[in-house]
Symmetry: C2
Subunit: 246 residues, 2 copies
Amino acid sequence: MAARREAGEGDPTLIWERPEPPSRPAPSPLSRERIVRAAIELADADGLEAVSLRKVAAALDAGPMRLYGYLSTKEELLDLMADAVYSEIPPPVRAGDDWRGALRSLAHGTRDAALRHEWFADLLSGRPHLGPNALARGEASLAALDGAPGFEHIDTIMLAVNTVNVYVIGALQRQIADLRAARTTGMDEREWQHASYPYLARMLATGRYPTLARFVRDASHADADSTFEAGLDCVLDGIAARLPRP
Amino acid sequence: MAARREAGEGDPTLIWERPEPPSRPAPSPLSRERIVRAAIELADADGLEAVSLRKVAAALDAGPMRLYGYLSTKEELLDLMADAVYSEIPPPVRAGDDWRGALRSLAHGTRDAALRHEWFADLLSGRPHLGPNALARGEASLAALDGAPGFEHIDTIMLAVNTVNVYVIGALQRQIADLRAARTTGMDEREWQHASYPYLARMLATGRYPTLARFVRDASHADADSTFEAGLDCVLDGIAARLPRP
DNA sequence: TATCACACCGATACACTGTATCGCAGTGAT
DNA sequence: ATCACTGCGATACAGTGTATCGGTGTGATA
């Protein structure tokens, strides 16, 4: 092991605090940020499984081992990538007492950033995101509701922010899974949803799923955006219902 | 390629329809089900990244290549594993008009099954789950609300089921990420949440996240179960708010 | 019963992964 | 001018998913 993995051996979250190696002028035009940027480019283009230390290094004209001066593990790179996504989420806007607007802008900001980087969904189940940008987003979320009318109790705010976040995460997960499925079959999302999707059609034709079949036939299949919006409204209504009578 | 990958070459969802190879009596005491069971045991014990075709095959006293008679890809194995989790979800009970109870039991059943198999969360972003058991769960969910008072319109049912599902998925994702983080630090979940977690404490001490710090200090950090319950109630309230006046 | 044809198992191989090791070159100090 | 050292990256290793294909055991046929 020697001195390769320097500080914070046991605790993987310590990337956020460990200083970068001083970027020596000539021989090392590398930085954690450049590495992360290269990795994100790869992931955006070809998915997370295309991100290998070798490829990232190659994109930076370096040998794979070079990266270990800036990262001590591939997991760290993934953490940094996730945090970079958080940095793209704009702070929620709160106009006066419009807490719904605040939560809504938070939700949309998160969703937009995540849809720009589909691989983000794959990093959600890994470990909690605690990088500086993720924390900043947390800070901004809470601050956006802090002091809004009806949100006097701290636990009310927690519940609201948590529920919205959880909804957004779940919705993302699902939409991205669908997007990928659609892409591998070559259809666009709309076509796919309309269930000319042959396997599903055959499965439904077995008669084992009568209700499902009826719904696939009769429901007005909205696009992903409006479905997201409808669910979000639903969640916001639920939050509103638990506020003290104004 | 020859005859190894037989039917449904292009479409990866076709596992569900492709028949198993006829289990020849003596030399082949293997079956898709045994393979999946072995893989699930590995994943339950050591996480999804411990599931390699070699290890699964070894657990069954077979060479790695043997599995390719039953699967054409590791992805298929993962799909089968995911569907096995769905088979553990009990059909939602609906007592009379109690649609809340139906959705609640659906949510809990899903959550319980997923917490029994933490790796399930990692499979959510992969591709949509369309195995027979997943479809059966879909069927049961819709059927549970079908005809309940207030749910006359098909889109109302869709919205309700979708929103609950999405909430459950998101909540799972998050709790499992937390569980893992807690485990790698050796603490139990409760301890971890109570933020003696040293990195977080240091980060909050920087003063860059004042609201967050206050919340971590003052909020009553409920355990995962009650948080889930509270959020679920919130979502159910939101659904209730959108029903036609009774 | 002896032979043949065929099916299939799994050893071998390949390209790829993350990462440990360590020789060597290049730098700064003496 | 010499030395000590630092840190880069070639090499190596154990592991992955999967393609290939030789050998073997089986069932059918003569």
